[in-house]
């Protein structure tokens, strides 16, 4: 157990709690804010793991843009500000499913990668140089595809939210 691990544990706990809070908050805006915390914690995890680029991209995009988007969405859809039951009647079953998933994943993880005897790995090769090289040489095709995807998403969003002028 070294310093990174402790830091990670703290970050992880915070992130977990806030993640649970996201899905159980009564107030939608509170849920969005908890989401910010969760995303931040994920970003910090990335940083701790040595993937600086991904970490900062995460914070930049997720926290900076996507959460804003969410807030805009909440505003535009007149999300009820204030206390409200935001859960539907499937709560119990969903909880069961979620717990089962968690249990299953954990058990598989523990079965596959024993906690005690694991050797702490070196940090991830998260240097921007390495990442950039890989991205623009080996994986340029997926990169271009993702660009297209984003373009399509952009156009799609515009088309969808355009008001019908009676065409």
């Amino acid at each position: 157990m070294n310093g990174q691990e402790y830091a990670f544990l703290v970050v992880a706990v915070v992130g977990s709690i806030s993640a649970i809070a996201v899905v159980t908050a009564r107030n939608v805006v509170h849920a969005a804010l908890y989401l910010v915390v969760a995303l931040l914690s994920v970003g910090l995890t990335f940083l701790l793991l040595g993937a600086e680029f991904i970490g900062w991209v995460q914070i930049l995009i997720y926290v900076g843009a996507i959460v804003i988007l969410f807030l805009f969405g909440l505003m535009l859809t007149k999300a009820p500000i204030g206390r409200d039951t935001l859960d539907n009647q499937n709560r119990i079953l969903s909880a069961i499913v979620a717990v089962v998933i968690f249990a299953g994943l954990v058990s598989m993880t523990v079965a596959a990668f024993p906690v005690r005897g694991a050797v702490a790995p070196p940090p991830a090769p998260g240097d921007s140089l390495v990442l950039g090289q890989a991205l623009f040489t080996d994986y340029v095709l997926p990169f271009e595809a993702v660009s297209f995807l984003l373009l399509a998403a952009l156009i799609g969003a515009i088309v969808l939210s355009r008001k019908d002028e009676g065409n």
Binding site: N90, S94, G104
Partner: protein, 671 residues
């Protein structure tokens, strides 16, 4: 007809026995054709009659004509000294009883064949004119042919069962013919009365036959063999007497003797040719023929049997003659006259062996002149459109042929020399004297006088005086007058066949035991003639001028009413026999049938219905229940499953995740 079928169907098919005495000619050996020809023509008429021009009458006339020729041929065989002939084929055997079909031709049978075919031929020709335009013209000829065939079967039969078959067919045909115009209820009633009354006589006759068959040890129904068995002294005389009386019952019925005489006057409801054929010459003669055929039985029986026969005949003879005096309907006069003359024949037979020849000779002559009288009456009725003599009168100028022929017939009936009736009645008188049955002789003489009296009455009322009716009478067509002329000729001539004066040929043909010696006794001839002429004179005096009220009515006073009601015998039968059976017994049997027999049938039906209800319940609820249940389960399941389609995306997602988890776990476990 049945004989023909039996011939065709019998297993053996060969002749069982052929007994030949003397030298019979071809006509005798093939005498089985004589009944077959009319039966064949009946079938042809039935199927091909209507389309044939003339409506099928030609077949009947040809067939009966051919049968007549064959009968003459058969009689010639006996005239030439030929002997009796018998031929049988096996029919079937039950236990020890061996039944055959066959013919037995002796002189008696040959003479009867001639009589039956001759009269039938005359009636066939006569009906061409008389029944012209009738609603059932072809049917009439069909039944005529059937009847002729049946009577011929009776005549040629060699055994009592075959005779019975022909007997019964005759009964049915006479019923059909009497009720020919059944649209009038009283005609069909007359037919039923005739059938049932003769039936009442037929039942004892059948039992008589059974007794006779039993007397042979139940081995055969053959007539000559029965005669042999009966002649055997081991058979008790009482047994034979009872059998004889029973058989005589059939004669009482068919030949209309007292007390079963009631059907014959009513049977005049039938067409006149039918009356001529059936009730003058053939069917009623069948009863007499029966006695003649089984004469051995009567001879071997105790004397009281023949005495009873005589008494019955005597009562009938005189009673019917008295009734004939009181009739207005011309056919009724002739009907009662027939009853009386039949009684003559039966009385003749009742006098034993000697009387057999005389009795049958009277049958022979009577057939011709009675048929002549009936056909002549039919001619008159056809012209005047009425049966009643009160509508007639003065017809001798308008219908000369009918008049002269009927005059011949009437004189013969009255017994005037030298006509046929004179000779046959005279024979009977002689035999009565020979057998010393003087009381019967007295009956003969009194009845002869009465016969002459009512005959004169009939002729005077019909042909003399002023015409009282409303129609326009004229002579009948040739098809009707030719038979009249032929029969008149026969009446003039056949008397000499049996006349003792010229040496009776008839006696050589028809006899029992040995041919009787015929002697002509002038004394009886004179007495008979005196009685006849006396009757004619009295009749002439009373009926010479037509009076408003019948002179006999004034003469007899209250007795006239009794005569009009036929001595109340018919009323007695109706009140004490017919009505109780019809109203009480029939009602009781009907009740039994409706409530008990039908209840059983209905109960069975109800049971079936109940069972079917059960089965249908089972089908509806159990079998259909399965199907409905399957459908219901499907429906219910669908109803439950539909909740899966909640429309809620998250619900679907739950299912998705659950599935993913399950599969993942599953695959992980596997690996």
């Amino acid at each position: 007809m049945v004989g023909l079928l039996g011939l065709l169907a019998s297993e053996g098919g060969e002749t069982a026995e052929t007994i030949v005495r003397g030298a019979p000619n071809w006509f005798v050996t093939h005498a089985y054709l004589i009944p077959l020809l009319p039966f064949a023509s009946a079938i042809v008429i039935l199927f091909f009659g209507k389309p044939t021009p003339g409506k099928g009458t030609i077949y009947g006339i040809l067939a009966v004509g051919a049968a007549f020729v064959m009968s003459l041929g058969a009689l010639m065989s006996f005239a030439n000294g030929g002997g009796t002939y018998e031929a049988n084929i096996d029919w079937f055997t039950i236990g020890t009883l061996h039944l055959e079909l066959g013919i037995y031709i002796d002189g008696l049978a040959a003479a009867m064949l001639v009589v039956v075919t001759a009269i039938s031929l005359m009636v066939h020709i006569y009906s061409l004119g008389y029944m012209k335009g009738d609603v059932r013209y072809t049917w009439f000829y069909f039944v005529l042919s059937m009847f002729t065939g049946a009577m011929l079967v009776v005549v040629v039969s060699s055994n009592v069962i075959q005779l019975l078959i022909g007997w019964e067919i005759m009964g049915v045909c006479s019923y059909l013919l009497i009720g020919h115009w059944f649209e009038e209820k009283e005609n069909s009633n007359a037919g039923i009365k005739a059938f049932i009354t003769t039936r009442i006589g037929d039942v004892p006759m059948m039992f008589g036959f059974f007794m006779l068959i039993a007397a042979t040890g139940t081995t055969t129904a053959n007539i000559p063999l029965i005669a042999e068995a009966v002649a055997n002294p081991t058979v008790s005389a009482l047994y034979i007497s009872v059998a004889a009386i029973l058989v005589f019952g059939g004669t009482i019925g068919k030949s209309a003797q007292f007390p079963l005489h009631v059907w014959l006057p009513d049977a005049m409801a039938g067409p006149t040719p039918v009356s001529a054929l059936i009730h003058a010459a053939t069917m009623v003669a069948a009863g007499v023929y029966l006695v003649g055929r089984l004469f051995e039985v009567f001879v071997q029986a105790d004397p009281w049997v023949l005495t009873t026969v005589s008494i019955v005949a005597a009562i009938t003879m005189l009673g019917a003659a008295i009734l004939a005096v009181a009739q207005d309907d011309i056919k009724r006069v002739l009907a009662y006259s027939t009853l009386s003359q039949l009684a003559y024949m039966v009385a003749g037979l009742s006098m034993g062996e000697a009387g057999m020849t005389a009795g049958f000779f009277h049958l022979f002559t009577h057939a011709f002149f009675k048929a002549l009288l009936f056909l002549g009456a039919g001619s008159v009725i056809h012209a005047v459109h009425s049966n009643n003599m009160s509508d007639m009168g003065g017809l001798r100028h308008k219908m000369p042929i009918t008049f002269w022929t009927m005059l011949v017939g009437s004189l013969s009936l009255a017994g005037i020399f030298p006509l046929a009736g004179f000779w046959s009645k005279d024979e009977l008188l002689v035999v009565a004297d020979e057998t010393h049955t003087y009381w019967l002789l007295g009956f003969f003489l009194v009845t002869a006088a009465l016969t002459a009296f009512y005959t004169t009455r009939m002729v005077l009322l019909t042909f003399f005086g002023e015409y009282k009716g409303h129609a326009h009478p004229h002579e009948s067509p040739r098809s009707m007058t030719i038979p009249l002329i032929l029969l008149a000729g026969a009446t003039l001539s056949v008397g000499f066949l049996g006349s003792a004066w010229v040496g009776s040929v008839f006696a050589d043909w028809v006899y029992f035991g040995a041919p009787p010696e015929e002697k002509f006794m002038i004394g009886f001839a004179l007495i008979g003639t005196v009685m006849a002429v006396g009757g004619i004179l009295v009749g002439y005096r009373m009926y010479r001028e037509r009076k408003a009220v019948d002179p006999m009515e004034t003469a007899l006073g209250p007795v006239w009413k009794v005569l009009l009601n036929r001595y109340y015998i018919d009323a007695f039968y109706m009140r004490w026999i017919v009505y109780p059976i019809r109203d009480t017994w029939s009602a009781g049997v009907y009740w039994f049938n409706q409530h008990i027999l039908d209840a059983i049938v209905n109960g069975a039906a109800a049971l079936a219905r109940g069972l079917s209800k059960l089965v249908s319940w089972f089908d509806r609820n159990v079998i259909d229940g399965f199907l409905n249940g399957a459908a219901g389960i499907t429906g219910e399941t669908g109803g439950l499953l539909k909740y899966l389609q909640s429309g809620n995306v998250q619900w679907y997602a739950v299912g998705l995740f659950t599935g993913v988890i399950t599969l993942t776990v599953f695959f992980i476990r596997l690996s």
